[in-house]
Symmetry: C2
Subunit: 233 residues, 2 copies
DNA sequence: ACGGCGCTTCGCCGCGGAGCGAAGGACAGG
DNA sequence: CCTGTCCTTCGCTCCGCGGCGAAGCGCCGT
């Protein structure tokens, strides 16, 4: 009964344009209601309901009812990483056909709950280059200098350590290099957003599934990140 | 025109059962003809031809004409890793519905061109545990002790270094841990097969796309691998 | 308690694509 | 040069799934 190709079951869920749009919107890390996701996908409520049921059944998203709303989010960090990796393959195959959001999107964006794009890659390079993190089996650990530096920036290291994985590489499809994932990646992104070093770019048009992921570095953020980690705006 | 979800284009290629069976067969690392792949997928020659054209167009496989045959192989190591990762997600979601080949398949198999399953994970653990390889940004490098040990086993280190990446982690879906990929992973697998420490298990029934990937450790192999790296059969 | 809203279920329609059979190139061997 | 083999292209049929409208269910506000 079970298909000999385990990946096919998951692939059919990703293959539909409406479901793909929903998952892309959820890559922003936000929890969205069924209605919002229906608008994002450009379909009616009944169709969206059916799609979300299938995504939940396939373990790609998690649902939490709250009053008369039902909030949906990606089921895990692995799902987010898988989506980014798969998107990167397409990019590698045909760099010619760049999607319309290309440049703006490559500068800075969210990958689920951590920073990606040129900003994410620069952050990764800054952390490793200054010796704030060092490789360990299965990922990265913070050095003494790193703990001090990150704490000075306002990163919640205790929260980062609470994650299943402290820090690991996540392939950045647009830059073709690794950026930082795991608890540390999440807390750094949260810290930057909290301090308004980075802000979300509001959607120009309603229902753009990518819009929620685009980020802008504020002047204050450029200064602080440049001083601490040598990241150029 | 371009879909906002870059991954959807690749996903549709993986979502069809016939194409999935073909890709699974190609995960053995062998180059197969269109006819062989048609039998594996259980479809006629015309359908297979159309599927293979789409897979090539999508950059998932590479084709090399040779006489009146056309040999097909996976386009790159990234494709193989992506397929294994995607398959692992399914496994994580519903560990209850294990596929029929479960146990035999989890013991030892090929992941494209390197070893996977319990054997692959044990190899990874042996290499790191004995300090033969040590983490570096973007993967692993061999230590002095590792170079000596691997050369003594008969692994072609020069060939391994010729690969785009010397050694990196590839997620093992069945064990939920990393096994070794990259040039070193390939050369270790090649060495074990060449020396008949490991042999391919012949397919019981024609057209099983998984059959080509199953491996068995020979008594000689168990002895040598146990001595060198503490790998239990 | 009642109306409103969000979401789901049901029934039906339409389209895309996956399959085969038949016919048309391309290549090796005699 | 002809024959057999391997693969592709073409024309066609058919099933599956994604879409909507209508109706049903559950939770909130007043």
């Amino acid at each position: 009964m079970t298909s000999p190709a385990a990946f096919a079951a998951t692939a059919v869920l990703l293959a539909d344009p409406a479901r793909a749009a929903m998952l892309t919107a959820l890559l922003s890390g936000e929890a969205l209601t069924a209605g919002e996701l229906a608008r994002v996908a450009g379909i009616g409520a009944p169709a969206a309901s059916a799609h979300l049921a299938r995504l939940a059944e396939g373990g790609l998203i998690a649902v939490q009812p709250q009053g008369r709303h039902r909030y949906h989010r990606l089921a895990s960090e692995e799902v987010a990483a898988m989506l980014e990796t798969l998107g990167g393959l397409t990019e590698a195959v045909s760099p010619a056909r760049r999607w319309p959001h290309g440049e703006a999107f490559r500068t800075a964006r969210l990958c689920y709950d951590h920073l990606a794009g040129r900003l994410g890659v620069a952050l990764h390079a800054g952390l490793t280059g200054r010796g704030w993190i060092t490789p360990a089996a299965g990922g990265w650990v913070a050095t003494e200098a790193g703990e001090a530096g990150l704490a000075a920036l306002g990163v919640d290291l205790a929260a980062a350590r609470g994650a299943r994985r402290f820090a690991c590489d996540c392939m950045d499809w647009s830059e073709r290099r690794a950026h930082l994932s795991g608890g540390l990646g999440r807390e750094i992104a949260a810290c930057c957003l909290r301090r308004h070093w980075i802000t979300r770019i509001p959607a120009e048009r309603e229902g753009d599934p990518l819009a929620r992921r685009r980020l802008r570095v504020t002047p204050e953020g450029a200064r602080r990140l440049g001083e601490a980690l040598g990241i150029a705006a």
